[in-house]
Subunit: 194 residues, 2 copies
């Protein structure tokens, strides 16, 4: 199997990658935390980044291309900033169009069954905003079920998510610390110990 290097933001080449990062930042150029996270892993062999907002700024997703990449991956990563307690709109559209009935679920094929899924999300608020008394009214875990169940409904194994709170802090301390975890986890995975 030929493993590709990162082909972030291009539609060229569909070489197989064991780890596929589906990256959804509405303003990739203005990202700090997500860019730090991505830069920590993008040179790993066997990893590919699909930057949805770079590829599909008009919200016209190439469903077949996305499916081909997914079929080749063992680990699917959904990486994005949390927007209104959920995924950004283009990733929601990707769920709707790419994870279609008859391909990802339903009577016929279950194309993603048995693959692993890692959720990598950043939030602007600090962790203590996610309590019943905090700004966001709930522990962070209250916002996980829609994402987790999307993966599970497609038969994927849900891995322990990698969540970075405080992504807006000037010192970027939290994303820097998480970036090292992220690389270590993906490296272990690619080494076959994930």
């Amino acid at each position: 199997m030929v493993l590709s290097h990162v082909q972030d933001g291009t539609r060229d080449g569909d070489a197989a990658a064991a780890v596929l990062i589906v990256y959804a930042h509405p303003h990739p150029g203005r990202s700090i935390a997500n860019r730090l996270l991505l830069d920590a892993v993008r040179d790993l062999d066997g990893l590919r980044v699909q930057s949805l907002y770079d590829l599909y700024p008009d919200f016209s997703i190439d469903v077949e291309a996305e499916r081909r990449l997914l079929e080749q991956a063992r680990l699917v990563v959904w990486q994005h900033p949390l927007y209104w307690y959920s995924v950004p709109a283009l990733l929601q559209l990707w769920f709707e169009e790419v994870l279609g009935r008859g391909w990802a679920y339903g009577e016929a094929q279950h194309a993603l069954a048995g693959k692993d899924c890692l959720w990598v999300a950043t939030t602007g608020a600090s962790a203590d905003a996610y309590t019943a008394a905090g700004e966001h009214g709930h522990p962070f875990s209250a916002f996980v079920p829609p994402i987790e169940q999307t993966a599970r409904f497609c038969g994927m194994h849900w891995l322990e998510p990698l969540i970075t709170h405080g992504a807006h802090a000037q010192d970027a301390r939290a994303p820097r610390a998480r970036a090292a975890d992220y690389r270590a986890r993906l490296q272990r995975y690619l080494d076959g110990h994930g």
Copy 2:
């Protein structure tokens, strides 16, 4: 105050409506359950329907127009089929663009504070699919926090949602029953007893 009749799918006229239904069905023409629900209420005086997929098929939302309508409303309804345990992509984009910092939340204005919010969602599965042992792995309440907290973060009052399971059943029994509830609730609201 002049109250408008429904102006579903048009951009004409911004007459004030006390009840604003933000309607997000990706295929309005193919909807059965949501159409039944909408048809049950659309002739009420003081109600307006914004059909997002009719208005913005290219995902280019007129943010200022949406905000003007919201400012005039007392009750904001979010009506849509559930897609991957969440709102359809265009409603997610509406959240991101319309409910912006400095307008809906943040240091300055809180344009929606004190308004009421009603969530009207349909699901294809029957209610018993929403259990820990069921097809969707969780009680339906596990999927509510992102939507509810979006409303609450903007200072809106969260009303008891109106959820219709079994929307795909051929006999449309569930949506027909819910349609009567929906009309009664909105009518009471418009009569000032909501």
